[in-house]
Symmetry: C2
Subunit: 316 residues, 2 copies
Amino acid sequence: MDKIPGLTEIKRAHTRISKYIEETPVLFSNSINEMVGAKVFFKCENFQRGGSFKMRGATNMIMGFTPEERRNGFATHSSGNHAQAVALAASLTGSKAYVVMPKDSSRVKIDAVKEYGAEITFCEPTEQARKKACDEIIEKTGAVFVPPFDDYRIIAGQATAAKELIEEVHELDYVISPVGGGGLAAGTAISASCLDPTIKVLLGEPKNADDTFQSLKAGKIKGVKNPNTIADGLKTTIGQKNFEIIQNYVEEVITVEEEEIISAMKLIWERMKIIIEPSCAVAFAAVLKVKERFAGKRVGVILTGGNVDVTNLPFK
Amino acid sequence: MDKIPGLTEIKRAHTRISKYIEETPVLFSNSINEMVGAKVFFKCENFQRGGSFKMRGATNMIMGFTPEERRNGFATHSSGNHAQAVALAASLTGSKAYVVMPKDSSRVKIDAVKEYGAEITFCEPTEQARKKACDEIIEKTGAVFVPPFDDYRIIAGQATAAKELIEEVHELDYVISPVGGGGLAAGTAISASCLDPTIKVLLGEPKNADDTFQSLKAGKIKGVKNPNTIADGLKTTIGQKNFEIIQNYVEEVITVEEEEIISAMKLIWERMKIIIEPSCAVAFAAVLKVKERFAGKRVGVILTGGNVDVTNLPFK
């Protein structure tokens, strides 16, 4: 796939993955609606298989290959949800998964990747070491690399979350997702554009890792040096393909402070009784930050994942 | 209502409360199904308004009065979910709620009762002090007492949770709920009996507060002295009306240890990404304890509530 996915590609992705993923529920909370002054619909990808939306993109890519092409397995490097997604998606096709994880990855995430049957290689916690270890595995095994976000097949897969949301909840005025590498953000933007161009797409980003915000301002990709945020899934710099889509289809990036992320996360735990991870709370933190603009509107929020170590929480 | 509720009364309760409660979702988890070796369907009353199933019984009772009869408001004593339910149900009819809470009740629960607009009276943390304070309020105000469980109107209201579960998920072999005072337990038993008598009803109870288990053995109600369990909602002794129903309609009470409760709670948090309170985990702990008997079966579990202080969790 060498062009920006359109409705055909998103629909094809959805058909391809539908047997392997959950059509996650859309939930709401009366007390949150009152607090925001809007109708807020939460698309619960925290309930997705593998614990996050990442399962959609990884499954779309892996299922797009023939059994012959899948023979040597799949490889990726990730400390988080993408690792789990590739491990699980590969196991569903009976393929081998090789996952390079930084040696300081959380025990919970390592255990989950192991449980899905992937072969883990630990490396130093640098981008360079991760890529090197992954390249070596690919050379040795002939495994296919599954990129985390900068790929149209991944973007088309992630786009199916917003597709389900928009098809279930009519007449949304806004859809908002967090942005890290931009797989979900770009997918959400193209889904909205294809299915209902009147929907405005917003993104939430941690102030401490605001590469997408800065990149849009500069008109080109700008990384953030040593981003330090509790939203660990959003530290990555936006990908090239992702950036191009976001430039064209996203209305605005709203940045939020660390304490706003934690407080939004706690609010969702307490009011909705569901578990979301810090990265996931960023979109809702952005909604709370600029809630005036949503007065009386219908707002879809993509809750991205729920993989969090419940023995180590940021709540005071 | 002076006789055990049948299908007519349960249906009437459901119609009466349906505008005021959520029809909560039924969720499942592939990994939990694999772990148990059965299909386990979780009825998520932790998503109920007020945070627990208690909203059903309180609403059924309060909405059963005429506006004239509701004029002097409602009173109850409770440190937990029943307090929140009465406060919220009363506020939905525009009635006043008087809630007596032991002065050592958790801050989170006190705040929730306040937020629903109830007038709180604090008392010493003994059963006697609670009753005395509540009686005084009733004498002064003419408020109607809303009993927590030993009442057919309350039982018929709680029965609607199992009714929704059984109507949504066909061909269940078992339904299991926790048992404290027995409002939900008795309601679940009569719903199953009315709607599908082939369903076996089991109850989970903390070993450290096993009054229902002991009472069934003895053939009469036996209290447990100073029950000490993390499942704080299940410390109460079974009520008379509840006991009579349970004697006739429940197959067995399965008791579980404290560590089994905490471990079942953690499993549901981690695998299902939903927040449940310790009392709520007791039914699933019982399922895990005797999982052999569920091999290949369809098992409904009522998740009772999600009111937990997320800053103070029992996980290590």
